[in-house]
């Protein structure tokens, strides 16, 4: 009698556990489902107009006049590319230097101060960065180099600063993940610290560092509010670093408030292109990072 009761309660608990497992599995797919729903909505809203006007005219058309049904995204694609490349050129050397200094050349004490400061600053909202650009950087560029100040250069500098925390924290992780024996072996062979960094640590941490750069790139391409405030937003291919520029993200945010009909669909099409670029970057970063993990096993 006792035995059967116990058995029954055991199966009840087991059944509950199975139910819990099933419920958790459903919950666990929330992130994947959100990703799918976002993809379906953005692509669903954005692609019909691309094919109606022709993919080629959409991607390579240089004129964006929504009121005349001209939806050429080329200036924005080039604009995003320019400011992102600029941000990488400025941000990567500073970010990598920081990461190397933090892991290899600084005392433990100093590291315990600098690293949290950099991490704290990752939390500064992008509007604040944009605002700093408006009140300090843009007037500085206008007075020093001429032009309107709202420019490719201003956007590249601010984005270069904004991606620093991403590059630094992921590169630091990658450098710290290099087994200590690598370091010790190199030093034991008589190499200086810098030679060790250059010839042993950087190659060993390569995948992680590349992943950090790609993720920084994704952040730069995807940034919106800061760029709107400082880039000038003219829908024209910029002729120089001092010309205003409009990126894919600003194109969406600037006009979303009042767009309707085909104009709105064209903004979703802009979103589709942005989305594709970001997904490609994410996948590449993901594959590189997992290669790093694989190599360590």
């Amino acid at each position: 009698m006792d035995g059967t009761a116990k058995k029954r309660s055991g199966t009840r608990l087991e059944r509950n556990d199975r139910l819990v497992r099933l419920a958790l599995l459903v919950v666990a797919f929330s992130a994947v489902s959100v990703l799918l729903v976002i993809t379906v909505f953005i692509v669903g809203q954005g692609t019909p107009i691309m094919f109606r006007y022709g993919l080629k005219s959409f991607l390579t058309g240089t004129r964006w006049y929504p009121s005349e049904n001209l939806f050429g995204l080329w200036p924005m694609i080039v604009g995003s590319l320019y400011v992102t490349v600029g941000a990488m050129v400025l941000g990567v050397p500073f970010g990598l230097s920081c990461a190397i200094v933090l892991t290899e050349f600084s005392s433990k004490r100093l590291r315990s101060i600098i690293k949290p400061v950099i991490e704290l600053l990752a939390g500064i909202p992008s509007v604040v960065y944009g605002f700093m650009g408006v009140v300090i950087l843009v007037p500085f560029i206008r007075e020093t180099f001429g032009g309107p100040g709202l420019s490719v250069l201003a956007a590249a500098i601010i984005l270069g600063i904004m991606i620093l925390p991403t590059i630094i924290s992921i590169s630091v992780d990658a450098l710290q993940a290099v087994p200590p024996t690598y370091r010790e072996g190199s030093i034991a062979l008589g190499a200086t610290k810098w030679q060790t960094v250059k010839m042993v640590l950087l190659p060993a941490a390569r995948s992680g560092i590349i992943a950090s750069i790609i993720l920084g790139m994704g952040r730069a391409i995807g940034e919106t509010m800061a760029v709107i405030m400082i880039a000038g937003n003219a829908a024209k291919v910029p002729g120089s670093l001092l010309d205003p520029v409009r990126t894919l993200t600003s194109n969406i945010a600037l006009e979303m408030g009042y767009a309707a009909g085909e104009h709105r669909q064209a903004l979703f099409a802009t979103g589709v292109i942005l989305f594709i670029i970001i997904m490609v970057l994410n996948t590449v970063a993901n594959v590189t990072a997992s290669r790093m993990k694989g190599a360590k096993k």
């Binding site: 608990l13 992008s126 993200t249």
Partner: protein, 278 residues
């Protein structure tokens, strides 16, 4: 020509340190600049009075309320989903195609720019589901945005709970679910809370995803269907339309102080959590 390795090292070291110093100085300068300009604008009235005349006068009370409500809503939606996912990944399954898909999904979601979330929230919640520009639309959109952060931090927190805890619980006759709810999650709680606080920081600072889903009405929100303006959206509008520079600086200072406080708290909790298990 051979360069003396020691001379080379001294040179490189100087360059690297200079670049690092510049980086840290820029970042510190931003904070100091905003606080120095913004703190004079702060007063009790600024924090407790509603904006007047599009934000030219008055305070920012309604935007503080909107920020808190919107963020709380996002956390209420995202935390159960995120922690549930983390529990499933760490306790209920083994590494395989399923976990790879889930992790890949979360990582991709983490990389999606906030403007895409804004577009998506606008089309699904604001127009298709007819929630309008509202706290509900804004919270749902933000929840989706912070979900990956909560998953990742909770997963790490749960993983760092020593396996012995589970073994002991099982050996006392605890079921899987009892072990998870009474042993594993309570032990991992500080780590989970850290992730949640980190997401609060991100929600407070977010603009692009919020402006197209929660709208920008300056009134005090009365229900989850009211359109409302968060602090960062308010700051953006003040600064971009040049409505009032002193009030823009003041709002920026409140934002920065809130985010610094949140990040310091996170940092403190994280260190305590790490110390506990190592």
């Amino acid at each position: 020509m051979r360069i003396n390795p020691r001379a080379e090292q001294a040179f490189v070291r100087a360059v690297l340190w200079t670049l690092t110093a510049i980086t840290v100085l820029i970042l510190v300068y931003i904070i100091v600049f905003v606080l120095r300009k913004g703190i004079p604008a702060l007063s009790w009235d600024f924090l407790t009075k509603n904006p007047v005349d599009m934000g030219k006068g008055g305070g920012i009370f309604s935007t503080i309320v909107a920020t808190i409500v919107l963020t709380a809503g996002a956390i209420l939606i995202a935390a159960p989903l995120g922690v549930g996912t983390a529990i499933y990944l760490t306790e209920y399954t083994w590494e395989g195609p399923v976990t790879r898909i889930i992790r890949f999904g979360a990582e991709c979601l983490a990389g999606i720019p906030s403007i895409i979330f804004g577009l998506f929230g606008f089309i699904l919640f604001v127009t298709k589901l007819r929630f309008g520009w509202s706290i509900l639309s804004g919270s749902l959109t933000l929840a989706f945005m912070i979900l990956p952060t909560i998953i990742r931090t909770s997963e790490e927190a749960i993983k760092s709970v020593p396996p012995v805890y589970r073994t002991v619980s099982f050996s006392l006759g605890g079921t899987k679910w009892q072990t998870v709810t009474r042993v594993v999650v309570p032990s991992a709680l500080p780590g989970i809370v850290t992730g949640v606080i980190l997401s609060v920081g991100r929600s407070i600072g977010e603009t692009a995803a919020v402006i197209f889903t929660a709208g920008s009405a300056l009134r005090l929100p009365t229900s989850i269907f009211s359109s409302s303006r968060t602090m960062s959206v308010h700051f953006y509008i003040l600064a971009r339309e040049g409505i009032s520079m002193p009030n823009a600086y003041g709002t920026a200072a409140v934002l920065i102080i809130a985010i610094l406080a949140i990040n310091l708290l996170t940092y403190y909790l994280m260190n305590r959590f790490i110390k506990k298990y190592s």
